[in-house]
């Protein structure tokens, strides 16, 4: 990377944030005006939603298993092993389900979007699209944005469900806890605010994954090397942003629901 003076560096970063804001804003505005590319949106839903299902199921399931194992060990010290189901479900629904789903989908799809759009950019396909009278943000970014936000919401529910299921299997078959007691404490302690908190996060994460992935793809320069660079940047930035936004949303939700 070429060395530049601090003022040029700061200007470049501010310009990048400005470009990102313009792209994200335009993609949102395009939702409310035509034409809409429904076929592209359903293709992306299939790719992002159905395509990510195996990794989300596995991640959710094994996270739930590990969480149950760790919880039982810790709760035994306080004689509260019966609260394992509650701890697993609260952790999965409020925090681990949304964040891990966001991170896994970010690794898979933000990278995919950046490399796909980056390849199109360096081979002039995006310019060709503009030359043929198509707005690339409307055609490429908006369908990915809608598809990611929509599918991440449901993927999070799947991850939560498999996490609780994984926790149940470990608690019942490895730790010998009562299954009915586990499931009972799992849902008894979940309140409305927990569910809202857990399902608000994927909306933000989906937005971050799609806009960051597409932004780095659309600003790719420098041939195949540039595509690789954009892909790495998209995954790093979207993953960090998901965790930072998770903190902000959690704080806001605690402010609203008080827990």
């Amino acid at each position: 990377m070429a060395l530049v003076s601090p003022d040029v560096f700061i200007k470049q970063k501010i310009a990048a944030v400005q470009d990102y804001a313009v792209l994200a804003g335009t993609a949102i505005m395009d939702i409310f005006t035509g034409p809409h590319y429904w076929a592209d949106m359903f293709t992306q839903m299939d790719s992002i939603g159905v395509g990510s299902m195996p990794i989300i199921v596995l991640t959710g399931f094994f996270t739930g298993c590990v969480l149950a194992l760790q919880s039982v060990t810790a709760l035994q010290q306080f004689g509260a092993v019966s609260k394992t189901g509650s701890l697993v479900s609260l952790s999965m629904v409020k925090e681990l389900g949304p964040v891990l789903t966001g991170l896994m989908v970010s690794g898979r799809n933000a990278a995919g979007m950046a490399s796909e759009l980056g390849s199109m950019k360096v081979t002039e396909q995006i310019d060709a699209m503009r030359a043929l009278g198509t707005d690339p943000i409307r055609k490429l970014v908006t369908p990915r944005l809608i598809a990611t936000v929509f599918m991440l919401f449901f993927l999070t529910i799947v991850a939560d469900a498999f996490g609780i299921m994984g926790g149940a299997l470990v608690s019942i078959y490895l730790e010998g806890l009562n299954g009915s007691s586990y499931l009972h404490s799992s849902y008894q302690n979940l309140i409305h605010g927990d569910i809202v908190q857990g399902l608000t996060k994927p909306i933000f994460s989906g937005f971050i994954i799609a806009t960051v992935g597409c932004f780095f793809g659309m600003k790719t320069t420098g041939g195949t090397q540039g595509v690789g660079r954009s892909t790495t940047q998209a995954v790093v930035v979207s993953s960090v942003a998901i965790i930072v936004v998770d903190l902000l949303v959690t704080r806001a939700m605690i402010g609203i629901f008080g827990s």
Binding site: E124, A131, L132, T134
Partner: protein, 282 residues
């Protein structure tokens, strides 16, 4: 400016008399701190073919992207079909591009679409019925003599075939202006000649206004001294006729280091006494 519908279904623009199709006035652009084009001015009349010549990196492709609104200049005015495009809203630019065809340097075909869908891209965007769209794709592919490749994907095509598909995609809507960005770049001489014949065919059959970027002098002079004939194909223009072996509608614009060094006819170019031009032509 008004539109009329042609038999092929494409809308053509009717410009008032005397209004050039392309007009650059004092156009400058720089990338970061590096000036690329400096105070460029020229005009292209309806039916004219302007060949942009110059060494690599002199700003020819940038000029073409400016003409299509893909880049915006730092200074100056660009009028396409009489409309100022430097201040035009993106939405209006997309609408205007329906009248402009562009052939990219590396073809820029959509690699996830087959040849038919690539060529019909604009028709699909305009929701042209599938039957009509297919018929127009076949017609465009026949023009570039590639109808047998209709179901193939870009990865299955040679460089020359990709360029021909790119030309078919550019001409399918019957554009009023075609921008060719080095259509023969990186091709062997025989394939280059085929591509130049297609450019010539489009010029002489449809009389479409065009800007053609090339750094191959041979291609430029072939275009300026030959004409497409339906019976004979590409043939030299007779030196004994009124045109004295040169196509009147073909003009040249030479760039060097972002400046215009020549703008005129073929005859004026070959008779130029400018030492840089003479050296370049030799």
């Amino acid at each position: 400016m008004s539109e009329t519908q042609t038999s092929s279904g494409a809308a053509t623009l009717e410009l008032p008399e005397g209004v050039p199709v392309v007009e650059f006035k004092d156009v400058s652009i720089r990338f970061d701190v590096k000036p690329v084009l400096h105070k460029i001015s020229f005009a292209v009349e309806r039916g004219q073919t302007l060949i942009l010549l110059g060494p690599a990196g002199c700003g020819k492709s940038v000029l073409l992207k400016l003409a299509n609104g893909l880049l915006r200049p730092d200074e100056g005015s660009i009028r396409i079909f009489g409309q100022e495009i430097t201040t035009m809203r993106d939405r209006d630019l997309y609408a205007m591009r329906a009248h402009i065809g562009m052939v990219f340097q590396e073809s820029a075909l959509f690699d996830s679409l087959n040849v038919e869908d690539n060529v019909a891209y604009r028709l699909h965007e305009e929701h042209v019925p599938e039957d009509e769209s297919h018929a127009r794709v076949v017609e465009a592919l026949k023009f570039v003599e590639l109808e047998q490749a209709i179901a193939k994907f870009p990865s299955e095509l040679s460089g020359g075939m990709r360029r021909r598909v790119s030309i078919a995609r550019a001409i399918i809507s019957g554009p009023d202006l075609i921008l060719y960005d080095s259509p023969t770049g990186g091709l062997d001489p025989i394939t280059s000649t085929t591509i130049i014949e297609l450019v010539m065919k489009q010029r002489d059959v449809s009389h479409t206004t065009s800007l053609l970027v090339t750094h191959r002098l041979q291609d430029a002079f072939t275009l300026a001294t030959h004409r497409y004939d339906a019976a004979k194909g590409m043939a030299p223009i007779s030196k004994d006729g009124p045109e004295r072996g040169i196509d009147d509608s073909t003009k040249f614009l030479m760039l060097n280091e972002g400046n215009v060094v020549f703008h005129g006819t073929t005859e004026e170019l070959v008779r130029s006494t400018d030492p840089w031009i003479k050296e370049y032509l030799e």
